[in-house]
Every structure is written in C-alpha cells, then in structure tokens.
Symmetry: C2
Subunit: 203 residues, 2 copies
C-alpha cells in the first residue's frame, strides 16, 4: 500500500476512535496529517471509502486470527482465547461499533458486508456449540431453539460491549477488554455441564 494511503488510514482510525466517526471530517484528517484535503480525496473519495478500507483491515485480522485458533482441542480454553483475541482486535477499531448504526445507515455497501459476516459468525457459533455438546461441555437444549436464542444474545453482546464500555468505563483499554471478555465467556456458564463448569471455574 502507498505510504500516504497507509498514513491516511492510520490517522483516520486514530481520530475516529478518539473523537467519533461523525464529528471527524475529511478535512480534519488531512489537516492533522499535514497534507491537503484534495490529496486525501485523491486517495479516498469519501469518508465512507475510508471506513470500508478500515473495516476490510479489521476483517483480515479477524480471519487470520480465526485460522490460527479454530482447531484448538479444548473447548473452554479455546473459548477464552479466541474471545480475548477477537475482543482485542475489535477494540482497535472500536469507532466502528460505537457508531455502527450511523455508519451503516449511510453506507449500504458496508451494511451488506456486515450482515453477511454476522450470519457467518452465527453459523460458526452454532458449530462450536454443537461440538461442545457432543464433547460433553455444554448441556442439551431445554426448550426449542434455546441455542438459537443464545446465539442471538451473543451477537448482541458482541456488537455492543464496546459502546457500553465507552459510556460506563473509565479504566484502561487493557482492563476494559479483560472485563468484557470475562463477562462474555460467563454468558456460556449456565449452559455448561458439570464437567464444563468445572473446567470453566479452574480457568
């Protein structure tokens, strides 16, 4: 990637995370970089193009992560690790989640991509849960579609923990990620078997 393009993406991410996507203008980004706004527009026509590029980056990082952690033998350990890594990456691009609705509203293209990915994620969770049941870590459903609802809950949590932390938390990024990470994995606890709960609490 061209150096200027790279610099634009880095600075945009920094400013979006710091001041919010909506309030930061293309001109501000250019100004903070010490380049002309025309130059910035030459590389990215609109703010939306920048977001799409940043989102693409996030995606690639997430995919890389997935490939390295998916074939982990132990369910509990794998749950803890992949959550932590996933949360870390997401937090680097937190402006995306904080103003998700606004961003998707004016960016139909990104919205499609986003929904598509969420659907894939849901299927992946379904597979993971099924395997956890087979291996005796999670219990069977106690009513129809119980785990479909659970996956929906997970989805909502994943999409919104960053927004929530932005409002209520005042500690460091590190601590925030750990707190919500821990909260996320605890969502699974009540669905674990005795064996699963045991391993969980030992962690």
């Amino acid at each position: 990637m061209k150096e200027t393009k790279r610099k634009i993406l880095d600075k945009s991410l920094e400013l979006f995370n710091r001041d919010g996507f909506t309030t930061v203008s293309i001109r501000q980004i250019a100004s903070e970089l010490g380049i002309s706004h025309s130059n910035l527009i030459y590389h990215f026509n609109t703010k939306n193009d920048i977001v799409i590029a940043l989102h693409q980056e996030l995606l690639e990082k997430a995919i890389t992560l997935n490939e390295t952690t998916i074939h982990h033998p132990n369910f509990i350990e794998s749950l803890f690790n992949s959550t932590k890594n996933g949360f870390k990456i997401l937090y680097q691009y937190r402006f995306l989640m904080i103003e998700l609705n606004t961003i998707l509203k004016e960016n139909e293209k990104l919205k499609h991509i986003f929904i598509e990915i969420e659907s894939i994620r849901a299927k992946m969770y379904r597979i993971v849960i099924n395997r956890a049941i087979e291996e005796g870590y999670m219990r069977e459903q106690e009513y129809d579609n119980e785990y479909d609802f659970f996956i929906l809950t997970i989805k909502i949590f994943s999409d919104s923990w960053i927004s929530s932390s932005e409002i209520y938390e005042t500690t460091s990024s590190q601590e925030i990620i750990e707190k919500y990470c821990s909260l996320f994995v605890k969502l699974f606890f009540p669905y674990l078997t005795a064996k699963g709960k045991n391993e969980f609490l030992n962690f």
Copy 2:
C-alpha cells in the same frame, strides 16, 4: 406546556427516530413544523435541550410504569409484563439508544443523569433477583458475583437491543418489540429453578 413547545418535542422525536439524531438539524425541525428556526431556538436553545426534555419525558413514563407494576405477586408474570411495557416505552424514544454514545458524548448533563439511572436500575434488578431466589424461582449463585455479572449483561442488552434491531430487523415495530422482549426474558431462563422454569415455559 406551551403548545409550540409541545409540537417541537413531538416533531423532534418523530424526525430523530426516522432520520437519526445527528442528521436532523434544528432548522429542519422548524421547517417541518412551519415555524421559523429563530422561534424554535427561542423555546430550545440547542438540540441538546430538546434531547434532555425528551429524555425527561421517557423517564416520567418509565417511572409511572414502574409504580404500577412493581408490586406484582408473581415473579415470572411480573418479569414478562414489566419487560414488555418497558421495552415499548423505550422503543418510542429509540433514537436515544441508537445514537446513545454520540448523544452522551456532547451532553455531559444527560450523561450524568443516564449513568445515575442505570445504577438505580441495577440495584432494582438486584432486589428483584434476591426476592426471586427467596421465593424459589431463581437458583442460588454458583460462583462469586454471578448475579452481578448477570445484571451487567442485562444492562448491556437493555441498552443495545434497539440498535441491534435497527440493523437486522425489517419487520414491524410490534414484532420487533415482541422478539427482543422474548429474547430478554429468556436471559433469565438458565438461572431459574425447576419451579421457575416450569412456570416460564407455561407462559
């Protein structure tokens, strides 16, 4: 309340919900009402003042609701009903939740109010859960602070189901509210006792 003031609040709510808080300007609200923007400013100096007034309205409705439903004898029934009513009211003011971070970022006053209320809500949930345990509807904690974490989860869900629905759902308001309401109460299911689960599934 003065008639004009009332009309401004109603129209603002309508436009904020429809087009998003950030994109709607004071001038647009005035224009849609057929009054001069100077007149609008006479009543509400800034958009933030309008939000605060709307939030106040939401609050008053929520408090009224609370007073009428809090002393319900049956835990399960009370959970279902108060959730449904609460969700309905919140959905009327959905723009608040959809752009919560943006709104609170530029409105320190509202942020304090919001955090204060959330803290009260958390305490209320704690009381409700304790009573549910005493009455044999919910099980005891299986590890330290389990219910504190659960309450945090509830809080995050309550703050974000509307944002999520805005992205993924295409059905009617009615159906959306019912869906997420049902999802919310299901969060409690794994923590119920056999007695609780039984009553729950009968509902």
